[in-house]
Structures are given as structure tokens and as C-alpha cells.
């Protein structure tokens, strides 16, 4: 039986004070308002992308789509590379995140052990790289020398560890009671076994968080693709869509010639439809990550 459940029962037994009730009311209301102001921008992006360009231009779109149309999505999705971009993004995200999680764990765990000689020096060396980097051109030359240009490796290996994420992970590992390490050592487990059997099962919430952070990072990444990939069939979705959102102003004079079309599709609707197409898939992974944020996971897994 999970302790979270026990705890809930305890809570229910305690007589709730007036202050506690008042706090609940205020808290629920506050978070509801918060929900509205964080939801509206994305909602607005969605309804604009579904509206007729003329209605958007006339500022008629406020809360619901006006003259609902899917034309904008037809334009956004017309690029023949969208599908391959989608597949590539999934591939880079899945493999990249796996590499990230493995590498970050391999780095964070040893550095989280207070007993390890030399860990402070290693940490200093690593933190230094958060501030200083060689820049775009030397990095390109290194990747090129390693023969990674135009391969999937260029999308995965150069960012194998995010120092920031690794440090967060290390902090979590450090929170695991030292007594667990000691008792495992007494049972004859080596450090690798301790990591796999004790530490990782206790770190589901942080692993889930890291998975989310890294996956979102890979999904949104376009810079490495820009620098290290030259062939369009290898481009991730972002590289293909980005061009529609951030277009050079220098074409303005040519694109505004007063075409005969009814322009149901305008720049704004295009831009917003692109955002929906590129962010919706990644937004969907959060609910799966969320279930690891439930209290009681830690003890439950030790006892289990």
C-alpha cells in the first residue's frame, strides 16, 4: 500500500480549519485566473490559424475562429518535405534524448558521490564550458573533422550533455540518502549496480523531467541542422517550418503585388498555423511525463 494513500487518510482525519478552507478557495481561484492568462495566448494562436485572413486583418478574431477555414494549413503543409521533416524530428528526438539521458546520468551520478576524489576539479572543468565556447566556426571544423557533417550524429552527439540539466540531475542524486548507498555496498553491490538498482528507480521524477527537457530541446532545435546538415531530406521539421515564420523583409515589395487570389491566407495566419503544427506534437508528451510527479514514488519503489 502506498504511503501517499496513508497520508491522504491522515489528512482527511484531521479537522480542517477555517483558514485552511479559505486558503483552498483563494488558491483554486488564483490558479484558475492563472490558467486563463496562460491559456489564452495559445488559444488565440489556434483560432487565428483557423480563421479567414480577411477577418484576422479586420481584427474580428477575439475568442472564436471567424469564417473557419483550413486553407492556411493546406498552405503550410504543401511543402513536400514536411513529412520527411516530421520523421526526421521524431528520429532525432528519440535517439538524441536516449543519448542525452544516458550521458547525463553517467556524468551526474559519479559527480554526485561525495566520496569520489577529484570530483570538484571535474565540476570546475565542466562549469567553465557553460561560459566559454569556441564559437560557431571552430565547432563546425571539429564536427567536420570527425566526419559527422550530413549524418544523424551531428544532430545527436554535439549536444549530448546539457551542463545545466546535468547539474540539476546531480542535485537530485545527491538528495538520495547516503544510508541507501552504504547498505547496498554492504550487500556487495558495486557502484554500477547501485546506480541501476537503487538510484535510478528512486529518480523517476527527475528522469521524467530530463526526458521532457531534452526532448523539447531536440524537437525545437534548428541551429545544428542549419550548420551541420546540407541535404533537405535530412532536415528536421523546425528547419522546414522556420522559413515560413521568419521571412526576410527584403521580399516584401514583391510579395505584396495585389494578387488576384482572395487571400484567405495572410502572413499572420500562416505564422500561427506553423506554430500549431510544430508545437502540438511535443505538447502531447507532457501528460505522460506528469504521472511521475506523484508523491510516494520514492518509498513505494524501495519497498517494492
Amino acid at each position: 500500500m502506498s504511503v501517499a494513500f496513508v497520508q491522504k487518510k491522515h489528512r482527511n482525519r484531521i479537522k480542517r480549519t477555517f483558514g485552511s478552507h479559505l486558503f483552498d478557495v483563494i488558491n483554486v481561484t488564483f490558479l484558475f485566473l492563472f490558467l486563463l492568462i496562460t491559456l489564452y495566448p495559445f488559444w488565440y494562436v489556434v483560432i487565428v490559424s483557423l480563421s479567414d485572413g480577411k477577418a484576422v486583418l479586420s481584427s474580428l478574431v477575439k475568442f472564436w475562429p471567424v469564417n473557419l477555414t483550413l486553407d492556411t494549413y493546406k498552405v503550410v503543409l504543401r511543402d513536400s518535405n514536411i513529412l520527411s521533416g516530421f520523421k526526421n524530428s521524431i528520429k532525432y528526438t528519440v535517439f538524441g534524448t536516449l543519448v542525452n539521458l544516458t550521458m547525463s546520468t553517467l556524468c551526474a551520478y559519479p559527480l554526485s558521490r561525495p566520496v569520489l576524489p577529484g570530483k570538484r576539479a571535474v565540476m570546475r572543468i565542466i562549469v567553465f564550458t557553460m561560459f566559454f565556447s569556441g564559437g560557431m566556426i571552430p565547432s563546425y571544423l571539429v564536427i567536420n573533422q570527425l566526419g559527422m557533417i550530413d549524418t544523424i550524429w551531428a544532430m545527436i552527439i554535439p549536444g549530448a550533455i546539457s551542463t545545466y540539466n546535468m547539474i540539476v540531475m546531480r542535485t537530485f542524486f545527491m538528495g538520495i540518502p547516503e544510508s541507501l548507498h552504504e547498505s547496498a555496498a554492504l550487500d556487495g553491490a558495486n557502484d554500477l549496480q547501485v546506480l541501476v538498482r537503487i538510484v535510478l528507480p528512486l529518480s523517476k521524477s527527475i528522469l521524467a523531467t530530463m526526458l521532457l527537457f531534452y526532448a523539447v530541446g531536440h524537437w525545437n532545435a534548428y541551429v545544428n541542422a542549419l550548420l551541420y546538415l546540407n541535404r533537405k531530406p535530412m532536415f528536421p521539421l523546425q528547419s522546414i517550418l522556420r522559413n515560413m515564420v521568419v521571412d526576410g523583409q527584403f521580399t516584401e515589395a514583391q510579395t505584396q503585388v495585389g494578387s488576384v487570389s482572395s487571400f484567405t491566407v495572410i502572413e499572420t495566419t500562416m505564422k500561427y498555423a506553423t506554430i500549431v503544427v510544430s508545437t502540438l506534437p511535443i505538447l502531447l508528451i507532457y501528460p505522460f511525463v506528469q504521472k511521475y510527479f506523484v508523491k510516494g514514488v520514492m518509498i513505494g519503489s524501495i519497498k517494492g
Binding site: L57, S58, S59, L226, L227, D247, G248, A253, S262
Partner: protein
């Protein structure tokens, strides 16, 4: 004259091909043959999402067929074109030709690009040689005596420039004549404001600076350093008397609620929304935007529509600026290319009559035909096929890789009327007929040292100006105090003009 003659000849040749199949065509086109060897040229260019580059377009196949040069095109997203191409150059990645290279001056002193002047003669590049002789402004493209770039030139172009658009229905409602001067315009806008207090007549986008980009020249001055035709030299606009007149006009407009209070912060999108929904009713900017506004207005406010008026006169002078007929944005050739001569000849081919027509109209018989006058005309069947697209013209151009976003470097805008509304076609005719519009003058070429000094001076002066403008327009400071700002920037501003004029004098030679 010669163009007509050539067209006529081409028409005759067509006739000949019809008579004696094949053979004659080969003979006639053989003059465009550049190489018989197996040569692949890597061409890097920016890719615009409005007209994505079609690598399998029939036009590109035709170029290979005629010239013998195989093109491998790398289309790089326009949004990241600069960073990607700078990377390509600085890491010595292979490429031969690069379109849309707008930062030539930056690397001019660093031998990154081929000096095209070596090949710019009657023999190797006859077509471009003739154009460089004909258009004298092109001599300004030489940097320290070398030519690193080939500009995008125009054979036939629609002419237009920043100019006023006003809600014609509201102008009619005031019962006043179309304004001929800035003061008359002010009266009209004031009358509109009185009739519709909730309206802020003048809209502006992308910051205060844009007001001066648009309004300074017609007010008899200019935006920053500019070529003043009356003086025959480069002068600095903000130092002039007329600039203060403009500032006063804007300050009055702000005070009277004629200028939108958000003039300094509205983005381009907001500006468009306000004009399309009747919150703003006048703008002096790229006038073609009005077609979109009219479309939106038609569905919400029947009878409301924008229409162009002539640029108002300031004092006795009425003047405006056309957008440049030629785009000085450049094509460059890699200094390390294996085939410098072939690259140059290929570029020259694009400026030949045949190459120009091919890259602007596509395949003869499939997408266009020559009419009785020997002018290329887009086939009705081709137009028909793309009419259902959200942007028919771009769809057609895209399929055949035509025009500026396609392969063309020598632009021919003829016969595009088929793709624009009747209203827009009429407007183009109006704008094209304005004799008071001036041609923009190309900036002279600077040496590397001059470029460095200029960038410092300009950012210094621009910072002072942009920090001052709003105080004067919003009435926090009286316009008379503008002389203090002038004193503050005078030395640097005059130095900028000095560099420009010295460079211009060099270019004249």
C-alpha cells in the same frame, strides 16, 4: 530598338524551326553553348517560403540543355541565409556561385570572391559588358578597383515607390479636393478626425524611424545621409531646415490626434490590422499593401476603400522616390572556384535575351508564346492552371523557377497583369506615370577602412536621433530645440557626408 530587333529575329527563328525541324534550333542556340565537358556548378541561393525553389523545374533542365552546364542548386532557407553562407565562406566549403549575397562589402577586402572584372569584356561576357556600359551607376559597384558582384538588373519593370494611400470614401465625405500639398493633406485628415473622433488617421509601423524613411524625402529633405539632386551631392537630412518642418508637422499631427499614438510601437502586423479595420485611414509607405486592406474592408465596411493620391508637394517641390529599378543585391563567384570562366559565362547567359526570357517566362510553347510584336506573353492555359492556388503568380513562378525568387537575375515583369487584380493593375499604371518621382541613387562603394568608420559614425548618430525623435513628436520638447540635436550630431554627420562624397567622386572617374 535592338530589343525589338532581337525579338523579331527570335520570332523568325521560331518560324524557321517550325519549317525545318530541329536542325535550325540547334544552330541558333549553339551560341549559348558554354562547355561540352561534364561540368557541375554548385549554386547557393536563398529560399523564400512564398516561392520555394523547385530543383526539378523545366527551366533549370533547359539551362543545362542549352549551355551544357549542370547546375546543382543548394537552396538555403532565407531566414538563416546569412549565417549559413558566412559559415560556408569561412570554412571553405565548396560552392561556385552564390545568389542574394547582400554583404559583399564586408568581405571585399578579404579576397573571398572572384574579381569578375577579369572576365567582364565583349568576348567573355558580352551581355553584361553592354549593360555595365549602358547603366553608368554600376561603376559604383567597384570596390578598390575590383568587381566582386553582379547586380540583379531589370529589363522591364513596374515602377512604384513609397507613396500615399487614403480612404477615398472618407476623402469624398469631407467634400474636399484631393490634397496637393502637405498642408492641404493635414486639413483633410483633420476634417476626417472631426467627423470620426475615434479614428487616428495616420498609421505607422516598425518604429519612429520609419516615419522619416517614408516622409523625409517628399518633405524636401532625406532620411539620414542621402543624395540630394538639387545640391548634386550627398547631404545629411536631419541637419536641414526642412527636417524641422517635417518634425513640426508630425508634432502637430500627434497633438491633434491625427497621428496614431502608437506610431512608435505598432508592429507591421498591427499597422495592417488598423488600416484594414478602419482605425487608421491614411498611410505613406509601400502602397501595394492597400489591396489587402481593400479586400478586408469590402467584407466589413461596404463602400470603404483605399486609393492612391499623388505625393503632396512641400512648398514648390513635389517629389518622391521610386523603389530602385535594379536591385543591387549581388551574385558573387567563389574566388576558389575551379571554373571561373564558366561561372562568368553562365551568369552572362542569364542576361542574354534568350536567358532572360527563359528565366522570366519559362518554356516557349509550354508556359509562354511570343505575340505578334515579338513580346513574350504568358499562355492563358498556364495562367488558368494556377488560378486556384492561394497565390497564383508565385505558384506559376515556382513551378518554372522564374523571376527573382527563381533563376532570373535579369528581371522582366511584363505580362504579370494576368495575375493581379484590375484595381492593382490600374494603380501600377498610375504610379508608373508620375513624372515627379525620382530614381534612387546607389550608394558609392567604400573601402574597408571607410566602411569601418562609417559603421561607427552611423550607429553613434542614429542612437542620438532615435533617442530624440519621440520627445519632439510627442511635444515633450519644442521643435525649435531640434537645433540642439543638430549641434550634437553635426560633426559626425558632416564626416559621414564627406566620406560619401569622396567615394562618389572616386566612382565617377
Amino acid at each position: 530598338m535592338t530589343r525589338k530587333l532581337v525579338s523579331l529575329l527570335l520570332a523568325l527563328c521560331m518560324l524557321a524551326t517550325l519549317v525545318c525541324v530541329g536542325v535550325a534550333e540547334d544552330e541558333d542556340l549553339s551560341q549559348y553553348r558554354i562547355t561540352d565537358e561534364d561540368v557541375t556548378i554548385i549554386l547557393v541561393r536563398s529560399d523564400n517560403s512564398n516561392q520555394p525553389m523547385q530543383l526539378d523545374s523545366p527551366t533549370i533542365a533547359k539551362i543545362q540543355e542549352i549551355t551544357g552546364v549542370k547546375l546543382e542548386i543548394q537552396a538555403i532557407a532565407g531566414s538563416d541565409f546569412t549565417s549559413k553562407t558566412e559559415m560556408i565562406i569561412s570554412t571553405n566549403q565548396p560552392y561556385d556561385i552564390m545568389y542574394d549575397c547582400y554583404y559583399v562589402a564586408k568581405y571585399a577586402g578579404q579576397d573571398a570572391f572572384l574579381n569578375i572584372d577579369t572576365y567582364l569584356n565583349e568576348e567573355d561576357m558580352p551581355n553584361l559588358y553592354a549593360l555595365f556600359t549602358e547603366i553608368s551607376d554600376l561603376s559604383k559597384l567597384y570596390i578598390d578597383g575590383a568587381l566582386y558582384q553582379i547586380p540583379v538588373l531589370s529589363r522591364e519593370a513596374y515602377r512604384m515607390g513609397r507613396s500615399p494611400q487614403i480612404r477615398q470614401d472618407l476623402l469624398a465625405e469631407t467634400g474636399m479636393d484631393a490634397p496637393a500639398t502637405w498642408d492641404e493633406l493635414y486639413e483633410v485628415l483633420l476634417a476626417i478626425k472631426e467627423a470620426h473622433p475615434e479614428v487616428y488617421p495616420i498609421g505607422n509601423r516598425n518604429g519612429t524611424g520609419n516615419l522619416f524613411t517614408c516622409y523625409a524625402y517628399p518633405f524636401g529633405t532625406g532620411d539620414g545621409v542621402y543624395w540630394e539632386p538639387e545640391a548634386g551631392e550627398y547631404v545629411y537630412g536631419p541637419l536641414s531646415e526642412e527636417y524641422m518642418t517635417l518634425l513640426q508637422w508630425l508634432a502637430d499631427a500627434y497633438a491633434d490626434g491625427i497621428l496614431d499614438p502608437d506610431y512608435a510601437v505598432a508592429t507591421s502586423t498591427q499597422w495592417q490590422e488598423r488600416l484594414a479595420s478602419g482605425q487608421n485611414v491614411f498611410f505613406y509607405d509601400n502602397p501595394t499593401f492597400a489591396t489587402n486592406f481593400n479586400g478586408a474592408l469590402a467584407s466589413t465596411t461596404p463602400g470603404a476603400y483605399f486609393g492612391p493620391i499623388e505625393v503632396p508637394a512641400s512648398g514648390d517641390t513635389q517629389r518622391g522616390l521610386y523603389y530602385s529599378k535594379h536591385d543591387m543585391g549581388a551574385t558573387v563567384i567563389n574566388a576558389n572556384t575551379q571554373y571561373p570562366e564558366i561561372c562568368c559565362k553562365l551568369m552572362d547567359f542569364l542576361y542574354s535575351d534568350y536567358g532572360c526570357t527563359l528565366t522570366n517566362f519559362g518554356i516557349e510553347g509550354e508556359s509562354f508564346e511570343y505575340n505578334a510584336d515579338g513580346e513574350p506573353e504568358i499562355l492563358a492555359s498556364a495562367v488558368e492552371a494556377y488560378m486556384t492556388a492561394s497565390d497564383p503568380m508565385r505558384a506559376f513562378f515556382g513551378k518554372y523557377a522564374l523571376a527573382k525568387l527563381g533563376m532570373a537575375r535579369y528581371i522582366d515583369d511584363r505580362d504579370q497583369d494576368k495575375f493581379v487584380t484590375e484595381e492593382a493593375a490600374n494603380w501600377y499604371a498610375t504610379w508608373g506615370s508620375w513624372a515627379f518621382m525620382d530614381e534612387p541613387v546607389l550608394d558609392p562603394a567604400f573601402t574597408t577602412e571607410e566602411n569601418e568608420e562609417l559603421s561607427k559614425l552611423k550607429s553613434e548618430v542614429n542612437d542620438v536621433l532615435s533617442m530624440s525623435y519621440d520627445d519632439f513628436i510627442m511635444g515633450n520638447r519644442p521643435v525649435e530645440e531640434w537645433t540642439q540635436v543638430q549641434d550634437q550630431i553635426r560633426d559626425s554627420a558632416l564626416r559621414i557626408c564627406e566620406i560619401y562624397n569622396a567615394a562618389a567622386a572616386r566612382a565617377v572617374r
